[in-house]
């Protein structure tokens, strides 16, 4: 039972780490602001999501699990809002560097 939980954790956190890595590479390599935003939000949304999913089997109680999920939800909300605001600024200023 404990082995199954550990396998889930290793798999989830590894997939999450992969998305963070991919998002960082995208942030450094993509040509303009909008595509960089796309890379960045993938790291936050999917990367953190998989890390949380991987950590859920390790949380001792329902309360800790809910705390982990709400951290992910808040990060989703913040990431979505900030990228919308940055994208709007880019569109208004007319320069997509």
């Amino acid at each position: 039972m404990s082995v199954a939980r550990d396998i889930m954790t290793i798999a989830g956190v590894s997939v999450g780490a992969f998305f963070f890595l991919a998002g960082t590479v995208g942030l450094l390599r993509f040509p303009d602001t909008l595509t960089r935003l796309h890379a960045l939000t993938k790291a936050d949304n999917l990367g953190l999501g998989f890390v949380v999913l991987g950590l859920l089997p390790q949380s001792g109680s329902l309360r800790d699990g809910l705390k982990l999920i709400s951290i992910w939800m808040l990060a989703l909300l913040a990431g979505a809002t900030v990228s919308q605001l940055i994208a709007r600024m880019v569109r208004q200023s007319g320069t997509t560097r």
Partner: protein, 313 residues
């Protein structure tokens, strides 16, 4: 060498590298962004040192609210920087470098000279945790064993806000701080400013409440409440209150005022200044913390809002 040690070495090198980059980079804006990232990484170091209370404060103040203050300053300096091209003379720069390096060397030397094991009061603090009915040793030190320091710290916050307000022009005195923020009322920022504060207020109050037995407390909770207030102001949903407002000034002095009153009560009814009667220690401390979280949230919010700029009408 296990994986935790490797992580710590990587973390320390990244923090040092980022610190040097923040000093060396030419643009003020880049330096500010570097400093915010630096603060968040320093918070991770505090977590590794098991100082979660300090980590929370570092992330909230250094990374969050301090970052906003610095970003605002960088935005104000941007126009002035384009005009000033003059550089300090090589002698001044060299002396500054030598001064900084010798201070760093002296600090490093002092740390190496510390006795090992370091003298500590931690066991005494843990042994006397029962005296207040709270189990978080940091809260015990801040609110009871060294309550005087915390009280004076709150007075310093009050002085800081007086200092910021005194930068107002005569015409704007008593008016509202900062510009009136305009945002699309149906836009994404206004949406966030409606959605997030209920959750943020619960988190802020929870951090205060859990501070009795777990990492947390009035300062960290107050920083969360302040950021919620600022979010609502920046989204244009509410205006900053005029600094002449009576209820605002009442909130600003509530924390240190109640602290002082209870401290004097200890002098009058008990053995010493700030001595709590054992039976009422926890309720008294909680009362002070509730007044303090309001004071801290209002003070931090107003420090970021800046000096009064507009008349109150």
């Amino acid at each position: 060498m296990n994986i935790a040690t490797v992580f710590e070495i990587v973390l320390a090198s990244v923090v040092l590298g980022l610190a040097i980059w923040t000093i060396a980079v030419a643009e003020t804006y880049s330096a500010t962004v570097g400093f915010v990232a630096y603060s968040l990484l320093v918070a991770l170091i505090w977590v590794r040192l098991d100082a979660v209370d300090v980590a929370l404060t570092e992330a909230a103040i250094g990374g969050g609210l301090g970052g906003v203050v610095l970003l605002g300053a960088a935005a104000r300096l941007r126009d002035a920087e384009a005009l000033t091209v003059e550089q300090a003379s090589p002698i001044v720069r060299m002396s500054a470098a030598i001064l900084s390096a010798s201070i760093t060397a002296a600090l490093a030397f002092a740390i190496l000279l510390l006795p090992d094991p370091a003298p500590t009061l931690a066991p005494t603090v843990v042994a006397n945790a029962g005296a207040t009915g709270m189990t978080n040793p940091v809260t015990n030190v801040l609110m009871a064993f060294r309550g005087m320091d915390t009280m004076l710290e709150k007075v310093v916050l009050l002085l800081a806000i007086v200092g910021v307000w005194s930068l107002a022009s005569d015409r704007a005195w008593g008016g509202r701080p900062g510009p009136r923020h305009q945002a699309d009322p149906n836009g994404v920022l206004a949406f966030l400013a409606r959605l997030l504060p209920p959750a943020g207020i619960v988190v802020g109050v929870y951090i205060l409440w859990t501070g009795a037995d777990h990492p947390g407390g009035a300062f960290q909770g107050g920083a969360v409440l302040a950021s919620m207030w600022l979010l609502v102001i920046m989204a244009g949903l509410a205006d900053t209150p005029p600094v002449s407002s009576r209820w605002l000034r009442l909130i600003l002095v509530a924390g240190p005022g109640l602290f002082l009153a209870i401290g004097l009560g200890g002098l009058w009814l008990g053995p010493a200044f700030l001595s709590y009667p054992a039976a009422f220690a926890k309720p008294l401390i909680l009362g002070i913390e509730v007044a303090m979280i309001l004071t801290i949230a209002a003070t931090l919010g107003l420090l970021l809002a800046g000096a009064p700029e507009r008349s109150s009408q």
